[in-house]
């Protein structure tokens, strides 16, 4: 394979993987704390994309402003979802919260159809992000391809800093192991859970925005498949682990892009690889790459 093509694939895999990773982080934080698969997370991601579309393309705000507004709007939506649909069910059996999550997911998707219509809308990319840069060895890259992984890595880095260097982060990690003990230490558990939802939604918003730029369009169901794949990425990495989610996302991105790059005839099966890999990992290392083993108590 030519160097130029390989680099293209590599950058593609890196950006797709880091987008999965960003979304996966939100799944993993919520699951780590509440043991809830937040099926609505992919739709939160979609909202981020729509918000930025409306802010910049419909209302012609500058990109910087639009991005900030979209992140804020999405975060608020994420917090509302937790407050309305999950918080009343904290003590309920887990299936209740799960069904509620499915309900929320349906709601957001179809609400988007009602408000934004079901038609896919094209996103006009800022030209500066699309101007190819040519290197001396013939490799050509567009800035967007580099921007996506860079932003993703910076954000996950910032999240790790928050988790490992600040007090709310400490509380969040503690809660995922033992809610009661953490409560004993004077931590207000509900606030920390809301923080996890907020952070997860903000990261999903950023991912949604970058996704909209990369595949330049938005539509109400755009969050479904990336959402499920990001969840799989979170399981790969070991659900509950933030670095694991990022690694899982990258792994998934590389598997998808590279399998098609090297075996173009199998391109139809690219999603199957992801799921097959998932099942293999679950069978041989049920708690993912970086996950902790949980033991049943008799």
């Amino acid at each position: 394979m030519e160097l130029n093509i390989f680099v293209q694939h590599f950058i593609n895999a890196l950006s797709l993987g880091s987008l999965y990773g960003l979304v996966a982080v939100g799944y993993t934080m919520v699951y780590g704390i509440l043991r809830l698969i937040n099926f609505a997370h992919g739709d939160i991601f979609m909202l981020g994309a729509y918000f930025v579309y409306f802010a910049t393309i419909v209302y012609k705000l500058p990109w910087a402003v639009g991005v900030v507004l979209a992140i804020i709007g999405t975060t608020v939506c994420g917090l509302l979802v937790d407050r309305i649909a999950y918080k009343p069910l904290r003590e309920a059996p887990r299936i209740s919260a799960l069904i509620s999550a499915i309900g929320v997911s349906f709601f957001i998707e179809n609400f988007a159809v009602v408000v934004f219509t079901g038609m896919p809308r094209p996103v006009v990319q800022p030209p500066i992000l699309m101007q190819p840069i040519e290197f001396s060895n013939g490799v050509r890259l567009i800035p967007l391809g580099i921007l996506v992984p860079v932003v993703a890595f910076i954000l996950v880095g910032a999240l790790l800093w928050l988790l490992y260097r600040t007090k709310p982060g400490l509380a969040m990690r503690a809660i995922s192991f033992d809610i009661e003990t953490t409560r004993m230490m004077g931590v207000s558990v509900n606030k920390i859970i809301a923080l996890a939802f907020g952070l997860g939604s903000a990261l999903a918003a950023v991912a949604g925005i970058m996704w909209a730029l990369r595949y330049p369009r938005v539509e109400p169901f755009m969050g479904m498949t990336p959402g499920i794949k990001a969840f799989i990425a979170a399981v790969f990495g070991g659900i509950g682990s933030v670095p694991g989610a990022m690694i899982g996302g990258l792994l998934l991105g590389f598997v998808e892009i590279m399998s098609v790059a090297f075996f173009p005839t199998l391109s139809g099966y690219k999603d199957a690889f992801a799921f097959l890999l998932l099942i293999l990992i679950l069978l041989f290392r049920p708690t993912g790459l970086l996950g902790e083993k949980l033991e049943d108590k008799i």
Binding site: L170, F177, D178, E180, T181, R183, M184, M185, G186, E292
Partner: protein, 242 residues
């Protein structure tokens, strides 16, 4: 001066009536111990004082030595208790296994914002338990049972509590460590903290306690000073059957 006063505390778990009409008072500066065989309801009492289990009581009043104000703590969430100056080192230590020793300790100081004070208390805990200092960067799960116990006690001290509650601090420790733990309990008490100690190891607990209550199947069957109960044959009967 009373610090904690409980009248007719009752705890139910589903069909089990685990605590029946327990009343107790704790004076400032005392070590009070709650002893009894396994399953007597000791942990349920201490956990309901911390606000971790639903309990009924005629009253449960805490008087903070900081401002001499008396408040009812019944039915309040655990955060309120920590802010008022109560802390608990729970049964089974409940160390957060994936956090380092120092992170566990910092979590204990979660409600505090005075970083100088926290640093000071961290040094204090390390001076009480030098072994924790050696292992400050290690994960909680790598500690031995005795070290985890020290960490649990240290973590409970980090909120600078006026009332420190210890649930079975000697459980599963080698005899030499048991002596060490009780020595430290005395030391902490000598520095002015009130202590409520739940113990299965009755002999050691009675030796350090000013006052003791014996629980049998959820109810107080005996109470008195530590020295009185130490010589009371009924205590042994409560454990080994009469």
């Amino acid at each position: 001066m009373e610090m904690l006063k409980i009248k007719n505390l009752n705890v139910n778990y589903g069909a089990i009536h685990a605590v029946r009409d327990v009343s107790l008072t704790i004076e400032r500066g005392e070590i009070v111990t709650l002893i009894g065989a396994n399953g007597a309801g000791k942990s349920s009492v201490i956990r309901s004082i911390m606000g971790l289990v639903k309990a009924r009581a005629d009253e449960m009043i805490f008087t903070s030595p900081r401002d001499d104000k008396s408040v009812s703590i019944l039915g309040k969430p655990a955060e309120t208790h920590v802010k008022l100056g109560i802390s608990l080192s729970p049964e089974g230590r409940r160390i957060l296994p994936q956090l380092t020793v120092e992170e566990n300790l910092n979590l204990g100081a979660y409600i505090r914002d005075d970083s100088d004070g926290i640093a000071e208390d961290l040094e204090y805990v390390y001076s009480l338990f030098p072994r924790l200092k050696e292992r400050r960067k290690q994960k909680g799960s790598t500690l031995s049972g005795g070290e985890q116990q020290m960490l649990a006690v240290g973590r409970a001290l980090m909120s600078r509590p006026d009332l420190l509650m210890l649930d079975e601090p000697s459980l599963g420790l080698a005899p030499i460590l048991v002596d060490e733990v009780f020595g430290i309990i005395r030391e902490i008490n000598a520095q002015g903290r009130t202590i409520l100690l739940v113990e299965q190891n009755a002999f050691a607990a009675l030796k350090v306690a000013h006052k003791a209550y014996v629980l049998e199947v959820g109810a107080v069957s005996l109470s008195g000073t530590g020295a009185e109960l130490l010589n009371n044959p009924k205590v042994r009967a409560a454990y080994l059957g009469g």
